[in-house]
């Protein structure tokens, strides 16, 4: 059986995708793998929602896609972050930080 990780919190997928694409263009599978690798499989991407999310983000202009080849020479669609994607990432990050602080406050309340 594959390892069981926690499901991604709703709405954070976009933040993670944008963050990862900030470093380099990736294909869909690569994105999922990066998330799993970076968190030592602690976070598991729901693949069924990854692609619709990517398409939606492309539609909203945060990412751009183009066809390229993987290291194994297979045709794959690569996503790269756009300018408005970077702006989006910035604001999402701030929001996330605010959310984190808020949750923390509750958890640490006496």
């Amino acid at each position: 059986m594959p390892p069981q990780g926690s499901e991604l919190l709703h709405g954070t997928l976009e933040l993670l995708v944008l963050r990862l694409l900030e470093d380099e263009p990736l294909n869909g599978y690569g994105l999922g793998r990066r998330i799993e690798d970076l968190t030592d499989d602690a976070l598991k991407v729901d693949e069924g929602s990854l692609y619709p999310a990517l398409y939606r983000m492309e539609r909203r202009g945060f990412v751009q896609s183009s066809w390229g080849t993987t290291e194994n020479n297979r045709r794959a669609k690569f996503y790269r972050i756009t300018r408005s994607g970077r702006r989006r990432l910035h604001s999402q990050r701030a929001e996330w930080a605010g959310f984190q602080t808020a949750v923390q406050k509750i958890l640490e309340s006496p």
């Binding site: 594959p2 869909g28 692609y51 909203r60 993987t70 045709r75």
Partner: protein
């Protein structure tokens, strides 16, 4: 993404989703493969790995569907969700249209005809009426005219002295120019001599129009003086066709009327002022103190910034009264007025084109009604589908929108076909158009025309789509599932049928009026007999045929040529008779002042004017104009010492010799007093529709003129006659060119070209509208019969005979037709005033025309109803009832 690419993708997404599909599939497959590889690395078997990867991915079909929707929307227009819905609806619509190729085909052909005819007419309207004149700031350009209160003329040219005085005395114009057209013969070493039209222009013309020559320069002011240098500016077409558009032509010389002229400039491409015939431009080179009574010059002026036409006219009026007081001999009763250059260029062509534009709009309306009929019948046959949709929660707006999207798709497809139709139609239009249609070369399919077609397609889609869409949206679930016929659909159908007939009736009525007036026009007796006469223009240049005015009328070389030409021609085989005249029949020529001896003295400047047609004695025989009284002109009258004589026409006798004897009376004109020796029948001067003016016929020997027409009556073919004329003229003067070659029949036909054009096109539109209406009625009645099949079947099974059913359906159709015709006649009567100015010899409410229209429309309506009615009478009741 560029709009074009977006559109391309949109179209692709619309008609072919396989590409989008493939992209998503590839991407997901790659994902699954890579995931499988991972599991393999962890030691799972190929089969297990594949299975795990698939399970982990989840519902692939669902993901694909979500992605597809997102992708298609993204690839359309900014991803608005409504667009994806519209696209889906459009695809549904196209699919359902493709399922009924018959009606869809009829719709497309109908729209192609309707929109195509409109596009064709619009392209003419755009090129001739809407496009600004090709001069700088053309709204400030005006044409100036004189008129004459005493003689009742309204539009005459300027005299040069009047022009100079206005030019000096006005405060409303920046600049003014005068010009006049003349025939000139161009002789070159390697070609036959050629007669062409030149414009003599004042040096200021290019400045007034704001146009500068493409090559070289305009005339200089000092060149434009009496005795100025022999220079010439070429028109663009002459430059292109005769000089191969080579700039080396500049500075070379060409021989015009025996004078060698230096080419100093070439007008820019497309320049056709003052008319498309003007092939070259000569300096006016006339002095301002020329004859003030000779009104042969056109004047164009540029208004100062901010000056309005009313101010121009007020100023001209003031200047004209000043001139009247200063020069009563010449200017008594003379006024001056201006109109925009646009107005004088386009003239009454505007009204004719707008009439046709209106007519073709009616054709499109009939087409739309037709299409609406077909669509409403489709909506009915889809009633069940629509009812289910609405039961499933589709609101009225959605249902209407779906059908409008479909209408738009149909209309655009029709519009594309219409472009092909309009190209052919435009060619036909221009071929039928009178030769002097102004600005005809402008007519083309350009962006404006395409935009019009597009806009028209949208408007048409709304017009023909909205009624069926509304009717369809009102489909009642219970009623249609119970397969009852909606009452509203029957009402809509009847309304469409009535409207269709009414619209067609208006057009047929207009066509009837125009056809009747044209027939009237053709039956007008022109006075002369046009058959078998060829006319050819000749022009003897002053360089070889001296024309010094102090010696007039003793212009011996001119006369010698003319006499010898006629002598040789009359001896030529096949020639019945030959003559020369200063103008051909139906060519109005000019007028001149005259007095009758023994009549009360008239103050100078207030004499009456009369048409003067100088002829050789054979003229009356050649054009078949009978001598009513007295005698014909004879060769004896041509002798230098013969007493001066003239003939006059009936109109002249009627006006000036009502109760007196004209023969023997003496008439003074051009300072020559001549005796009236005969009266000839009236011949038309200004066109078949116009009254015949009083006219006199002097002889060439007593009033020679170097420009004239040669008229030859012969039963040979016209081409043979022209060849024979050429062979006769050649030995007399190798350098003379024949111009304006045409038979008199052709000239008569050309004189009615404008009304013929209007009538032909209008009649065609009327026929088209009537045909479309008949097809539409047929369709609507078939639909009605189809829906009443059961009822009719029951009637037949209860004993109704086929005849009864036939008359039942026919009666139904006839009632609706009658209502449509009545409304149509009402509309026609209301609109009749529109036709008034195009009619000749027919009242605008001509009862005969109205009656024929009613008969024609009723016949068309009955015919279109008869076929469905016959089908209804043959309904087999048993089969019908069994189908229930």
């Amino acid at each position: 993404m560029s709009p074009l690419r977006t559109f391309g993708l949109w179209l692709r997404a619309l008609f072919d989703s396989s590409e989008v599909e493939g992209e998503i599939e590839d991407e997901i497959q790659l994902h699954l493969d890579l995931r499988t590889r991972d599991y393999r690395k962890r030691g799972y078997s190929e089969e297990e790995a594949r299975d795990l990867a698939r399970r982990r991915f989840g519902d692939k079909a669902l993901v694909k569907q979500q992605c597809r929707r997102l992708l298609m929307v993204e690839r359309t227009i900014g991803g608005h969700p409504l667009m994806s819905t519209l696209i889906r609806e459009l695809r549904q619509g196209l699919r359902s249209l493709a399922k009924t190729p018959g009606p869809t085909g009829v719709i497309l052909v109908t729209l192609a005809l309707g929109i195509g005819a409109n596009t064709a007419i619009f392209s003419v309207v755009e090129g001739v009426l809407l496009r600004p004149l090709p001069y700088s700031d053309p709204d400030r350009l005006v044409s100036l005219w004189e008129n004459d209160r005493l003689r009742g003329t309204t539009q005459e040219g300027f005299s040069l002295p009047d022009y100079s005085d206005v030019r000096e005395g006005n405060e409303v114009f920046d600049s003014m120019a005068a010009f006049t057209l003349l025939n000139t013969t161009w002789t070159s070493e390697d070609d036959e001599p050629r007669r062409m039209t030149a414009a003599r222009i004042s040096a200021s013309l290019t400045e007034v129009l704001g146009v500068s020559p493409a090559i070289g320069r305009s005339f200089r002011a000092e060149e434009d003086a009496v005795g100025g240098p022999p220079v010439v500016i070429l028109g663009p077409e002459f430059f292109r066709t005769r000089f191969g558009a080579s700039a080396e032509a500049l500075g070379t010389r060409i021989l015009l009327d025996g004078v060698s002229r230096e080419i100093v400039g070439v007008m820019p491409e497309g320049f056709d002022f003052p008319s498309p015939e003007s092939a070259l431009y000569l300096p006016l080179q006339m002095s301002g103190d020329a004859n003030r009574g000779s009104h042969g010059f056109s004047v164009v002026a540029r208004m100062k910034e901010g000056v309005r036409l009313e101010e121009v006219n007020a100023q001209l009026q003031a200047l004209a009264s000043g001139l009247e007081a200063a020069y009563p001999d010449d200017n008594m009763g003379r006024g001056m007025w201006g109109e925009t250059l646009y107005q004088s260029t386009v003239g009454d062509t505007r009204d004719r084109l707008l009439l046709l534009f209106g007519a073709v709009g009616f054709v499109l309306l009939v087409a739309c009604v037709n299409v609406a009929g077909i669509l409403s019948s489709r909506a009915l046959s889809r009633a069940r589908e629509l009812a289910i949709q609405s039961a499933l929660g589709a609101n009225r707006f959605t249902l209407i929108r779906q059908q409008l999207v479909e209408s738009l798709a149909l209309s655009f497809a029709g519009g594309v076909l219409a472009l092909a139709v309009s190209t052919a139609a435009r060619r036909a239009l221009l071929a039928l158009a009178p030769e002097d249609l102004p600005r005809a070369s402008n007519v083309e399919t350009n962006g404006t025309v395409l935009g019009f077609t597009l806009a028209l397609s949208v408007v048409a889609a709304v017009v023909f789509g909205i009624l069926p869409a509304l009717a369809g949206s009102r489909v009642n679930l219970r009623a249609s599932l119970g397969s009852a016929i909606g009452v509203s659909s029957g009402r809509l159908r009847r309304a469409l049928l009535v409207g269709e007939i009414a619209l067609a009736v208006v057009l047929v009525f207009g066509a009837g009026l125009l056809i009747r007036s044209f027939v009237r026009l053709l039956h007008v007796d022109p006075g002369f007999s046009a058959a078998n006469v060829v006319a050819v223009g000749l022009d003897l240049p002053a360089s070889r045929y001296p024309q010094r005015f102090p010696e007039w009328p003793r212009w011996n070389q001119v006369r010698a040529f003319q006499t010898e030409l006629l002598r040789r021609l009359s001896e030529a085989p096949g020639v019945d008779s030959a003559a020369i005249a200063i103008n051909t029949p139906l060519d109005a020529g000019w007028t001149s002042r005259f007095t009758i001896e023994g009549r009360p003295e008239v103050a100078p400047g207030q004499e009456d004017e009369v048409r003067v047609r100088t002829v050789s004695p054979g003229y009356f025989r050649t054009v078949g104009l009978p001598i009513l009284r007295g005698r014909e002109l004879s060769d004896d009258d041509e002798r230098p010492d013969a007493p001066a004589v003239i003939l006059v026409n009936e109109a002249f006798v009627q006006r000036y010799f009502k109760d007196e004897e004209p023969l023997g009376a003496r008439v003074t004109q051009w300072d020559l007093t001549r005796e009236i020796v005969g009266v000839v029948k009236n011949e038309k001067f200004q066109g078949l529709a116009e009254e015949v003016p009083p006219a006199i016929y002097p002889t060439f020997s007593q009033a020679p003129f170097p420009e004239f027409f040669l008229l030859v009556r012969s039963r040979e073919r016209p081409a043979r006659v022209v060849a024979m004329i050429r062979e006769t003229v050649g030995p007399l003067d190798r350098e003379l060119a024949l111009g304006d070659v045409a038979t008199l029949d052709e000239r008569v036909s050309e004189s009615v070209a404008e009304p013929r054009f209007t009538m032909t096109i209008f009649a065609f539109f009327a026929a088209l509208a009537l045909g479309l209406a008949a097809v539409g009625i047929y369709g609507l009645m078939s639909q009605a019969v189809g829906q009443r099949t059961r009822e009719l079947g029951v009637r037949i099974s209860l004993g109704a005979r086929p005849k009864d059913v036939l008359s039942l359906v026919l009666g139904d159709g006839a009632r609706l037709s009658a209502l449509g015709i009545a409304i149509g006649v009402g509309l026609a009567v209301a609109l009749a005033r529109t036709f008034e100015s195009f009619l000749f010899g027919v009242e605008k409410l001509d009862p005969l025309t109205l009656a024929s229209v009613v008969v024609v429309a009723a016949a068309a309506g009955l015919l279109a109803t008869y076929l469905p009615a016959r089908r209804a009478s043959r309904i087999d009741p048993i089969r019908t009832l069994r189908q229930e």
